[in-house]
Amino acid sequence: MTGEPPPTPAAAPVPAPAVRTRKAGGHLTPEVLDQARQLIALYPEPRSALIPLCHLAQGQDGWLCPDAIVEIADLVGLTPAEVRGTASFYDMLHTEPVGTYVVSVCTNIACLLRGAEELLEHAGASLGIGVGGTTTDGTITLEEAECLADCDRAPCVQVNHRYVGAQTPESFDRLVADLRAGARDGEVPRHGTLIRVRRSGGLRVGRDRIAAERAAMAEAKARRAAEAEKGDH
């Protein structure tokens, strides 16, 4: 019997595996990127800017799309899994696509007593979607919310995180019609978020101010360290 060994496995050509990870960069617009960098500069640790950056990206796209998450992760030195992990904790950050207007109906106690359940049911029926769904034209996403801190005007409704006052089923239908017609554009931003940056029309922090704040911070840190040192002896 001959024992000619089987052919060498190492010599066989290796099929080139596909590239597995997406590369970061290029998704955020230059303006958004610039704002992001300014935000990061405000903190001693880049990752502290994570939530504001998520808001920025959501402001750009309406939701936190995977490309944005990868880019944010790269900017703050985290992994995309960590960024998504953090973002998915918060109801106000959307890790799935949403409509132009996110309509949140509060069903917490005050609103519940004032007919929130009925309102939500009506909203679902008239929009033809369930809670969490988005209309086929991509305009409206319906959300059930916990107390939105507007209990005095129950049942409370928000659109893109702007209060639109107590709603009845009838007024709700008018609201939706207005939104579709663009009649509320002055009041409710498209794809808006709650971020301060947006409300004030953008972050306006000069580089020198950032530098000054950082210097002050470093000084304070050194002072504390010196004091701690003294305390030790």
């Binding site: 001959t2 024992g3 496995p9 190492a10 595996p17 597995r20 998450i69 992994t79 995309p80 899994a81």
Partner: protein, 936 residues
């Protein structure tokens, strides 16, 4: 089902897990003695535990202090090697405080002076019942089809502490199960109890959080990011520490039931870190490897290559019978015939070489795969019997053997306790993965400052204090500039960074991790750098980062030109070994590079025959073309191998060897730590252990090598090898020596802390299996007996025939005074230098014959700095032509902003276009110069 309460007393008997628990996965502290007894009184607190008075070091977590005192508190999220988070609430105990006794998580509360702690009150019992009932609310209870069944902390602790009944009648949450989160790991989210062990391991220990929790509340799930799988080299550890069956390993799933497995404790020899493992098998096949917590080495972690490369051993691509080439074909023959053929061929080669060339007559290549005992016997066969000194366990991809043998050594614990660690090596995560984990832990905790000297970025770069990027060829010059303010600063080195590095290098405790920053740079240059550092930094110590298996043991056993066993130089040891062995080579032989170059160039000084010991010069030697020509030109080729390959294809005689887990003996790691490797399997077919092959081959040549067992071989090593003096095999076998012993032994009796017994909740799987089979340390019933003290200074009284008399024992080698570092000519403006780094998953045998790992080999591109890419006018993804003095290939390029200008980077032994980087390296030159051209 293992009952954790029963194991309680045993776990705590040795009293050491608590010492590491106090450190909370914190590397630097683990190196120091954490026991209460040695701490000064002000660092000790006294409290009562269930009415007993107990002391513990200040800062220790209650759960660990209680465990040392003999009280096991149930837990899920707590892990002694990671920081506490207190999320599962299983460890609630009553702790007295100003407002009376309250329930507090004992893994998250430090011991406090005067506190009264109760672990077994009705209130605690009720809390445990409640926590377990909650944990089981959403748990699918699919134990009969779950891999963890039988070794599951959730099962075990529910049995021991749980309510026994659930009041939950509602629908449980449902997820698709299981989903692959990488090629190796699958996730069943329904089973997950959100303990965060896996996510903390990924972020805290491995330093790459590719998995994290997503969602909130009831819908919390462990998740990867889409298109970013859990590719960490350490992913298998999460499977091991998951306290339920939520994470399973693809190669092991459904292959066995834990109670059917049998196990031994051994050492991983896939690389030179020497992690301790439990090897578990069933029906003469390895089913899995689990990490054992060896405090000085691996802390329980393994890399995925070490964990899964056992597939090679199980594989069907094994050599099972001796083969001899007859009429151009390899034919299966008896061992006797094969050995006779090998002996005849080697003798004829020696005769052809004649007395004048006897010390170079036969080349012996490889040996890093051998055990220490086998390496010793092969050295004795080559140097003592055949009289050749051309023996080299390395493939010109390491460091000169006499340099390694002479370096003042550090241990891993000393590395993580140093002030500054200078890393002159390839990417440690790719080369010595668990060593990387230890260094990363210390660097991220701010305990050590890392200075990195390498042409390209590595996984330690983000945690390094300073990274000095140099051009291949400049390593010695950079080392000089690092320690000498007056030395010229090589081009491209940033002066500010250099200044900072100089400051750090001036610290009192400096450890250098010394390997090959790039394979495309002559090892002599790195050796030169090492000598510069030793001369300038008093007290500096080294961890030689040679990568392959037992390469350190092979060097210690003399498998390098100019070396004899026990770190002795050929000249210094001549008289001693001549007496022990009968003869030694007359002069220094050739190293691998010189042997292969002489064969390839048909040099008159070439070896007349070649013995290749489980190595593959074609993929391991930097210059592939030269290796190929050399093998083709070998007059007579003997392959000792366990799997087929290009050497076997060309061999005249093939001797089938046992593989890992099929042979017993010892191995030596990067520190010089000698530890036991155990035999778990019977080798397939007629394969023999390497040490037996050496003994039998010597007999066929006409010399009896005395040892007739592995133990006898070790006895001989202990007698003749100066560095191993005093380390008897009884010491190695003693309980307490499981973590290994570093050679040479220091003066005085050996004091080794007893290794920690394993906490079955921290390292599930090992404990439960132990109950059925041979005991590793996990289940020691009583504290390990202290190892017998070595007879220091005294002559070992065995009086065996090989004990030389009347000759002085030679000294252990000192560092060479100088090395012949090759001259590197300056480059012109159009030339780039190539740097070549290693990848963990490469085309080498361990990976390519393990199906689960072979899939992970990635195609690579040539990496170029952004400037150079601009100059060429191409972008990432484009193809360019790469020209060396001897060849030209077209490759895809990628951009690497961390590369210095005029340096291009490739990876070793992985696909680079249609070839591997081996074709680019010219073994005759100290560096590799290339030109980049756009493709017309």
């Amino acid at each position: 089902m293992a009952d954790p309460t029963a194991s309680t007393t045993r776990v705590t008997a040795a009293g050491s897990p608590g010492a590491t628990a106090a450190a909370g996965g914190d590397d630097g502290a683990a190196a120091t003695d954490g026991g209460a007894a040695s701490s000064p009184p002000e660092d000790v607190v006294t409290f009562t535990l269930d009415g007993r008075t107990v002391t513990a070091p200040k800062g220790e977590m209650l759960i660990a202090a209680a465990e040392r005192a003999g009280t096991f508190i149930p837990r899920f999220c707590y892990h002694p090697r990671m920081a506490s988070v207190g999320v599962c609430r299983m460890c609630l105990v009553e702790v007295s405080g100003p407002r009376g006794a309250t329930l507090q998580p004992s893994c998250f509360v430090e011991v406090a002076e005067g506190a009264e702690v109760t672990t077994d009150s009705p209130k605690v019992k009720k809390a445990q019942d409640g926590v377990l009932e909650f944990l089981l609310v959403n748990h699918p209870l699919d134990c009969p089809v779950c891999d963890k069944g039988g070794e599951c902390p959730l099962q075990d602790q529910t049995l021991a502490y749980g309510p026994g009944e659930s009041r939950f009648v509602e629908e449980k949450r449902h997820f698709e199960k299981p989903i692959p989160i990488s090629e190796l790991v699958l996730l069943d989210r329904e089973r997950c109890i959100q303990c965060s062990r896996c996510t903390r391991f990924a972020a805290e220990v491995a330093g790459e959080a590719q998995i994290d929790f997503a969602g909130r509340g009831e819908l919390l799930e462990v998740a990867t990011f889409p298109d970013h799988p859990f590719t960490s080299y350490f992913s298998g550890n999460t499977v091991q520490i998951c306290p339920v069956g939520a994470l399973t390993a693809a190669p092991y799933r459904f292959s066995a039931r834990p109670w059917d497995l049998d196990q031994v404790e051994s050492t991983c020899t896939t690389c030179a870190v020497g992690c301790r493992v439990a090897v578990q098998s069933s029906a003469n096949r390895v089913t899995r490897l689990l990490g054992i917590d060896a405090d000085p080495v691996n802390h329980g972690w393994l890399c995925d290559k070490g964990r899964f490369a056992y597939e090679t051993v199980n594989g069907d691509q094994r050599l099972t019978e001796p083969l001899v080439r007859k009429d151009g074909r390899l034919v299966a023959v008896s061992w006797h015939e094969a050995l006779a053929a090998a002996a005849a061929g080697l003798k004829a080669a020696a005769a052809r070489a004649g007395d004048a060339r006897r010390a170079r007559s036969v080349g012996v290549l490889g040996g890093a795969r051998l055990t220490n005992e086998a390496a010793y016997l092969w050295t004795r066969l080559a140097k003592g019997v055949l009289g050749t000194d051309s023996v080299d366990a390395q493939m010109a991809d390491g460091l000169p053997g006499d340099l390694v043998a002479g370096l003042p050594r550090a241990t891993i614990d000393e590395m993580v306790a140093a002030d500054t660690v200078v890393v002159i090596s390839g990417d440690l995560r790719e080369e010595l993965p668990v060593l990387f984990l230890r260094l990363l832990g210390a660097a991220r905790a701010g305990k050590v400052s890392v200075i990195e000297l390498a042409p390209q970025r590595s996984a330690i770069t983000p945690s390094a204090a300073v990274s000095l990027r140099y051009r291949p060829g400049d390593v010695a010059a950079v080392a000089r500039a690092l320690v000498d303010d007056g030395a010229p600063v090589p081009d491209g080195i940033d002066p500010t960074a250099l200044g900072r590095a100089r400051e750090l290098a001036g610290a009192p405790r400096v450890v250098v991790v010394l390997g090959r920053p790039t394979i495309a740079e002559h090892e002599g240059l790195v050796a030169d750098a090492a000598l510069t550092l030793t001369a300038a930094l008093p007290g500096v110590r080294f961890l030689p980062a040679l990568r392959r298996g037992n390469v350190h043991g092979a060097i210690d056993m003399g498998m390098a030109p100019g070396l004899l066993p026990g770190r002795v130089g050929l000249e210094e040891g001549r008289a001693w070994f001549a007496e022990a062995w009968g003869s030694v080579p007359s002069e220094r032989g050739l190293d691998a590079r010189a042997m292969l170059a002489a064969l390839a160039g048909d040099d008159p000084g070439k070896p007349e025959a070649l013995v290749v010991l489980g190595a593959d010069p074609l993929s391991d030697f930097p210059d592939r073309a030269m290796a190929e020509r050399a093998l083709d030109a070998a007059g007579f080729l003997v392959a000792v191998a366990s799997t087929p390959g290009p050497v076997v294809d060309r061999a005249d005689v093939v001797l089938p060897a046992a593989a890992a887990h099929e042979r017993a003996g010892t191995t030596t790691n990067v520190e010089g730590r000698v530890s036991r490797v155990a035999q778990k399997l019977v080798p397939p077919g007629q394969a023999w252990a390497d040490w037996m092959i050496a003994v039998e081959l010597a007999a066929h040549i006409g010399t009896e090598l005395a040892p007739e067992s592995v133990a006898a071989a070790w006895d001989e090593i202990e007698r003749v090898a100066p560095a191993h003096r005093g380390l008897t095999h009884a010491m190695l076998d003693a309980r307490g020596a499981e973590d290994g012993v570093v050679v040479p032994l220091g003066p005085g009796p050996a004091r080794r802390p007893a290794p920690a017994l394993l906490d079955p909740i921290a390292f599930p799987g090992i404990e439960s299996v132990e109950r059925q089979g041979a005991p590793p340390r996990a289940g020691l019933a009583e504290p390990p007996a202290p190892a017998p003290a070595p007879a220091t200074g005294a002559t070992p009284g065995t009086g065996a025939e090989t004990e030389p008399e009347g000759t002085a024992r030679p000294p252990i080698l000192a560092l060479p005074a100088g090395v012949d570092a090759p001259h590197v000519a300056p480059t012109d403006a159009y030339t780039h230098r190539l740097t070549v780094g290693r990848r963990l998953y490469d085309l080498g045998d361990a990976v390519s014959s393990s199906p689960s790992l072979a899939r992970l080999v990635e195609a690579t591109a040539l990496r170029v700095s952004p400037h150079d890419l601009d100059d060429l006018g191409v972008g990432p993804g484009d193809r360019i032509r790469l020209r060396t003095a001897t060849t030209s290939i077209d490759v895809e390029v990628d951009v690497d902003p961390m590369l210095p200008r005029k340096v291009v980077a490739a990876d070793w032994n992985v696909p680079l276009g249609e070839v591997t980087a081996g074709v680019l390296v010219d073994g005759r030159h100290p560096v590799v110069e290339v030109r980049l051209e756009s493709i017309p």
